[in-house]
């Protein structure tokens, strides 16, 4: 049997998700025996053209050129997996979405005319169909390796969509909202990280994106009862995965309510 041909590409991002593959270390060497890595610029100078059996894409679509690049990658790929918050919900750089791009460009770069960027930082699935989305900032290494292992066995993995809260209960972590009165997005964020923020004594900040279904309004009400202003609560939703529809809409509702009062 020929080994599946795997490619790894990067759009606008921090490299952290593909680093999860390099950080897999021994597993990476084992994996290299089961698959053929034919395009992974961060790891190897060896580059082969498509088609690819499995393609991993990190990062958000942030320039016009990347729209074309993503379309070309899709056309070459049998199974396309987007990895991480940038690729699945636009990433933290999507904080620019819905704001004045020219002002951001002017603030950071002295010659704005040279800077090419789309008004919005977009998830890959807004441009092309995606076969599997693995969320997280960064993507969880266990989920990533498990997904590849499932695919090697001919199955399609289905990562959990239950909230971080469930994970905390399973692991017996003390609830930071109840015990410390700290805001935590755990009730509306999907699990996958292992509930590391509550484990570290702090609130979840939503790296893995919205759980299904997320009751964001009830949580927002609780945060306001804890003494936060609606604007600060909106900021809490508008963060690492703030462009994910459920979090974006929650933030917008809070801002509309703030505008009325």
């Amino acid at each position: 049997m020929t080994k599946p041909r795997v490619a790894v590409f990067k759009m606008a991002s921090c490299d952290g998700c593909q680093l999860q593959l390099l950080d897999a270390e021994e597993a990476l060497l084992d994996l290299a025996g089961a698959i053929e890595i034919v395009n992974f610029a961060e790891a190897t100078s060896h580059v082969e053209p498509g088609p690819y059996d499995v393609t991993l894409v990190e990062g958000s679509v942030s320039t016009a050129e990347q729209i074309e690049q993503v379309k070309a990658i899709r056309a070459e790929s049998t199974f396309l997996i987007t990895i991480g918050a940038c690729a699945t919900s636009g990433g933290i750089q999507a904080l620019r979405n819905g704001t004045d791009l020219a002002e951001h460009v002017r603030y950071v770069y002295p010659t704005p005319a040279y800077v090419e960027a789309l008004a919005s930082s977009q998830p890959i699935a807004e441009i092309v169909p995606v076969d599997l989305e693995l969320t997280g900032c960064p993507v969880d290494r266990g989920q990533l390796l498990a997904a590849l292992a499932w695919l090697l066995q001919g199955s399609v993995p289905r990562p959990p969509t239950t909230p971080v809260c469930i994970e905390c209960k399973r692991r017996g972590y003390v609830c930071v909202v109840v015990a410390k009165g700290e805001p935590c997005l755990g009730p509306v964020t999907r699990t996958g990280c292992g509930a590391i923020c509550p484990a570290m004594g702090r609130g979840c900040y939503g790296c893995f994106g919205p759980s299904q279904p997320p009751n964001t309004d009830a949580l927002a009400k609780r945060f306001i009862e804890l003494g936060m202003s609606p604007t600060r609560v909106a900021d809490t939703f508008r963060f690492i995965t703030g462009y994910a529809p459920a979090f974006r809409e929650a933030a917008e509702r809070l801002e509309r309510a703030e505008a009325i009062t």
């Binding site: 490299d15 680093l19 060497l29 950071v108 900032c137 484990a199």
Partner: protein, 432 residues
């Protein structure tokens, strides 16, 4: 007239994406472009209006390889502005975390990014498949100690969650950290083998003059604390960073390059600079590793000596982590209360690949008004091009493939992190 173009469409085995264009006319380089097509992400812009308490969760997203450097620079700067007194134990835990990041980043560079160059392989995977499996596995094992230590302190190694302004949301227990003692001792024994491995590689020599820049610290090898210094005797501090250095706009380029404001000359940050400027505080095994890996006498300004400096600093990170872990008691409470006040917070720390500068202007209730971030790679970019201009003429008679390889090696000496370099885009420089 003979014309030859060398295109490297993707510079492989660096963090982030860049390309290089070289044009040679009649045996002379007439055009050299290090093109960076990493798209802008506008961190400094969208930091404005956010609360100071969110900064330590935002800035690590600039770089997945050195998130701790970004967190530490922001946290120290803001604590300095807010006059927060954190206990000595908090400083020690931060230093252990920083050691862990140096360890993983340097071992990633030496084994996965750089070593294949000198052995004629495309990747560490190929190295492992073709006779160097024990060496690759040793490198990965060392790297894993750093990663695991970061995760033990920060919850995860990429984008740790516990560091905050005021301390840590949770401090690792003494038991959790002492569990690393045995692995760190093994790592310390193995690092000397890595030094010998590096010494045996056929690494080119490129003894050119340069001004190297890093933090300097008289008591501890600099990570989180220190003033600035250079190999030509300049001294300054974080508070004057934006006066002493300047980000300039090059003709035909959208890139901002750092230079000294007075002489307009480029400089070079990173492990080699740190090692040259802080020899007095180098730990014993690190000194031994450096001597074995080609850094016996200083100053040594050869950019290819950076490999040796990375190995020496890996040894130093292990020694420092071991020393601190043996005496470790967790800070209790893990964080102290913080009251924001208006002002400007400037700080530098030493990221694995060089000095990282942050400034935040903050209002009375702790909202960020202005942000400025100067990553090590954008500071090195101009110097990287200078090295290419000086090095490539000596190898122009080689094939395109070999020339490309030589150019990539020069770039990789800097361990560039293009994702970090929020400040540069397409490079297009032409000089007569």
């Amino acid at each position: 007239m003979t014309h030859r173009s060398v295109e490297v469409p993707v510079v492989a085995r660096v963090e982030g994406e860049g390309a290089l264009h070289v044009r040679i006319d009649d045996g002379q380089i007439t055009r050299l472009e290090l093109e960076i097509y990493e798209p802008p992400r506008f961190f400094e812009s969208f930091l404005r209006g956010r609360h100071f308490s969110e900064v330590a969760d935002i800035v690590p997203r600039i770089c997945g390889i050195c998130p701790v450097a970004y967190q530490m620079t922001a946290i120290h700067g803001l604590e300095h502005l807010f006059e927060v007194e954190v206990p000595e134990r908090t400083y020690e835990l931060r230093r252990i975390l920083y050691c862990a990041e140096w360890l993983e980043s340097h071992m990633l560079h030496v084994h996965l990014l750089a070593a294949p160059d000198f052995l004629g392989f495309d990747s560490a995977i190929e190295m492992a498949q073709k006779g160097f499996k024990p060496q690759v596995e040793r490198g990965l094992r060392l790297k894993r100690v750093g990663n695991d230590l970061m995760a033990a302190i920060g919850g995860r190694e990429i984008h740790p969650v516990s560091p905050m302004v005021g301390g840590f949301s949770r401090a690792a227990t003494a038991k959790e950290l002492r569990a690393f003692e045995g692995r760190l001792e093994d790592a310390l024994a193995e690092i000397l083998d890595v030094a010998d491995f590096v010494a045996a590689l056929e690494i080119p020599e490129f003894p050119r003059d340069a001004e190297l820049v890093s933090m300097v610290n008289q008591t501890d090898y600099p990570m989180n604390d220190g003033d600035m210094g250079s190999t030509r005797g300049r001294t300054w501090t974080a508070d004057t960073y934006e006066e002493v250095t300047e980000e300039i706009h090059v003709a035909h380029s959208t890139a901002l390059h750092s230079v000294f404001a007075d002489t307009r000359s480029p400089y070079f940050v990173g492990p080699l600079a740190r090692y040259n400027l802080n020899e007095a505080t180098v730990t014993p095994v690190a000194r031994d590793a450096a001597a074995r890996a080609g850094l016996a006498t200083l100053p040594n300004l050869d950019p290819f000596a950076s490999m040796g400096a990375r190995v020496a600093e890996t040894a130093l990170s292990i020694e420092e982590a071991l020393r601190l872990i043996r005496d470790y008691t967790p800070p209790d409470p893990p964080y102290v209360a913080v009251t924001p006040r208006a002002g400007s917070a400037a700080w530098t720390t030493e990221a694995p690949r060089g000095t990282l500068y942050h400034r935040y202007d903050v209002d009375d209730d702790g909202t960020i008004l202005e942000a400025k971030i100067v990553p090590p790679t954008s500071q090195n970019l101009r110097h990287m091009e200078r090295d290419l201009r000086e090095y490539l003429p000596g190898v122009l008679d080689r094939s395109d493939e070999e020339l490309t390889h030589a150019a990539e090696m020069v770039v990789r000496n800097y361990d560039p992190c293009i994702s970090c370099a929020t400040h540069f885009l397409r490079l297009d420089i032409e000089r007569g």
